[in-house]
């Protein structure tokens, strides 16, 4: 606990905190200096996440005791593979959104950069903490910053959507508190590992109440994850937010998923006695309903930001349903899917703004209606003659390729990582050949495939409309800092596809660690290695 390397665990929380505070002290007017601090912070976070990813890839779980208090009394940070993966995602997305914001968005309102850093701090803290109440505190840090981010740039749409977002999340936080206090009242601990150990010995009269408390807390997580019917706030908020804010907000819904993975699998795993598998069907059915809702939303939306919001819903639903299936191999596939979809959706949110730039206002709002009624056909015929023989401008070609890649990733079509993820989950859920297919398996299969198909339809329709039907006269002016992050995110997805073997191995190891949390418990109670009880 003395070497510098041991303190690496807390660095992902401390670095953005210091950076954010420094930015406020530097002041809004010295823009370049603030941006430089942000750049240093996000790059440091990237390096840290890389290091921690490598550190976590071992059978033992690392912990960090704040103030060196024993685990049961003090606050612990825990790093296992899942935390490391989430930290990595937050760092990559944070870096990309930060770079993108330098294009112009960070000037759209006050205190963009400090809020951004605090957002990252809250995210990293939520991924690292091993204590339910600290999870709440980091949720609040993250949310408080996200309220500011969602409202960044102001405007009627943002304030209106932001108001709903605020109220829904405040309510969810209150539910979280109720859950936490019930859990503390019954079990007498908020340390997740300690709670997991005590689960088995809870007396029968108290078990119902404890499960209720955890279920109430679960609602708070599921509101964040936007499970149907608690996810109606998501598409308008994400669609209204400024581009870099939307990109970083898109990982917020995954914090809900992370919490479900962590808390649910830890507390209701095989060791939980009578409570084992509590609520699995709710997750499964809720996830499937979310997929259904997202599928309808994807088909029904007529503009790009809402399409991206609907894809977030589908991604959340897929993950919840896969977690609810409760099998190690499926969870492993789901983790891989999460990485792929977070990167793809982040890239998609960033891409939307570039695609929309330079298009006529409202061009896409009525696109579907226009197609349905066959209006404007004459105009287009005239235009077509001019268009023939014109070389597609370089910018548009790049945007088109990026759009197509996003579509492949989101829909889960081969050859990219989205396909591999869905394939892994499905092959795991179907089980070995010759066995009868379980109802759960067929429901998941239908959900995954239909949602993928709907995404293909929606993306193709939008793509045709954006790039072919009414192409922009002049290609939009796009800076390197804007196309760079998109390229980075998509290249990472490609790398994830190319290195699918090691990546999937890592995720499967993470999933095994989650389903049999021996290493986790052992790690938290390192003081008493032989028998943690």
């Amino acid at each position: 606990m003395t070497g510098l390397a041991d303190h690496l665990l807390i660095a992902p929380i401390v670095v953005p905190m210091i950076a954010g505070a420094a930015m406020i002290l530097i002041g809004e007017r010295r823009r370049n200096l603030v941006a430089l601090v942000g750049l240093v912070s996000t790059i440091t976070l990237l390096l840290l996440a890389g290091t921690l990813l490598a550190l976590a890839n071992e059978p033992t779980v690392r912990i960090y005791r704040l103030g060196d208090w024993p685990s049961l009394f003090g606050i612990v940070l825990v790093l296992d593979r899942l935390s490391a993966v989430m930290l990595g995602l937050a760092a990559v997305l944070g870096f990309s959104a930060f770079l993108f914001s330098l294009g112009r968005w960070h000037r759209a309102g006050a205190f963009f950069h400090p809020l951004f850093q605090f957002q990252l701090m809250g995210l990293n803290g939520a991924f690292l903490t091993g204590d339910l109440f600290n999870l709440f505190v980091f949720f609040e840090v993250m949310l408080a910053a996200s309220y500011g981010m969602a409202l960044h740039g102001s405007g009627v749409a943002r304030v209106r959507a932001g108001l709903h977002y605020l109220v829904v999340n405040l309510l969810a936080s209150l539910l979280f508190l109720v859950g936490v206090s019930v859990v503390y009242g019954i079990a007498g601990t908020l340390n997740m590992a300690d709670l997991a150990l005590r689960m088995r010995d809870i007396v029968a009269e108290d078990r119902g109440l404890l499960e209720t408390g955890l279920a109430v807390m679960g609602i708070a997580f599921l509101v964040k994850a936007a499970m149907w019917p608690m996810g109606f706030w998501l598409p308008p908020t994400y669609a209204a937010a400024t581009t870099p804010a939307a990109a970083i907000l898109s990982i917020l819904s995954k914090v809900g998923i992370y919490s479900v993975l962590r808390v649910w699998l830890l507390l209701f795993g095989g060791e939980a006695g009578a409570s084992a598998g509590f609520g699995a069907n709710w997750l499964l059915v809720g996830g499937l309903l979310t997929i259904a809702f997202g599928t309808i939303a994807v088909l029904a939306t007529q503009n790009l930001p809402r399409l991206a919001g609907a894809s977030v819903l589908i991604s959340s639903g897929t993950l919840l349903a896969a977690i609810g299936a409760g099998q190690v191999a499926v969870t492993g596939g789901a983790l891989y899917y999460m990485v792929s979809s977070v990167l793809a959706i982040g890239a998609f949110f960033l891409l939307i703004e570039l695609v929309e730039r330079g298009r006529e206002v409202g061009a896409d709002v009525l696109a579907v209606t226009r197609a349905a009624f066959g209006a404007r056909e004459e105009e287009e015929e005239l235009e077509e003659q001019e268009v023939v023989g014109v070389v597609i401008p370089g910018t548009l070609a790049i945007l088109g390729v990026a759009f197509m890649t996003c579509a492949l990733l989101l829909a889960g079509l081969p050859p990219l990582s989205g396909f591999l993820a869905k394939f892994t989950m499905l092959s795991a859920v179907l089980g070995p050949e010759g066995e009868p297919v379980h109802r759960t398996a067929s429901a998941l299969m239908i959900g995954f495939i239909v949602s993928g198909f709907a995404t293909v339809i929606a993306m193709v329709r939008t793509g045709i409309d954006v790039f072919w039907t009414n192409p922009v006269r002049r290609p939009p002016r796009i800076g390197v800092v804007e196309i760079g992050p998109i390229a980075l995110l998509l290249l990472l997805c490609a790398a994830l596809t190319a290195g699918a073997g090691p990546a999937m191995g890592y995720m499967q190891a993470a999933a095994r660690e989650l389903h049999t949390p021996v290493a986790y418990l052992h790690g938290v109670f390192t003081g008493r290695p032989d028998n943690p009880r």
Binding site: A144, Y147, S154, G155, V159, R160, L163, L171, L177, Y184
Partner: protein, 114 residues
């Protein structure tokens, strides 16, 4: 004691939920405030309620661990109060911004057509 506390929490929570479902932003914010009071009291009560107990120790007694109230719920409620206060203040600002931008205090930013 338990009855009074639980009734108080119930009334606060009930009124809070009712107000939260109202269409005006001010009602919503008051509803959220009431709900957070209810939740704070609830957290407080998970530490166990006692009436007529000394604040710390009775004079002339040595006292044991059982005489002390559980400090953790108090720490939790303190954190919850601070966070709730800050977020309510933020909500108030957003509420005013929404009122200014949309010209309506309806939660949807526009009145429902009748």
């Amino acid at each position: 004691m338990e009855l009074i506390a639980s009734l108080a929490i119930g009334v606060l929570a009930g009124s809070g939920v009712w107000l939260l479902l109202r269409p005006r932003t001010f009602q919503v914010i008051v509803g959220l405030a009431l709900l957070s009071y209810a939740v704070n009291l609830f957290i407080f009560s998970t530490g166990g309620l006692r009436s007529g107990a000394a604040a710390i120790l009775r004079g002339g007694e040595t006292g044991s661990l059982a005489d002390y109230a559980d400090p953790l719920p108090q720490a939790l409620v303190l954190t919850a109060i601070v966070i709730g206060f800050a977020t309510t203040a933020l909500l108030l600002v957003v509420l005013l911004a929404a009122r200014g931008l949309t010209g309506s205090d309806h939660v949807d930013g526009r009145e429902r057509e009748r």
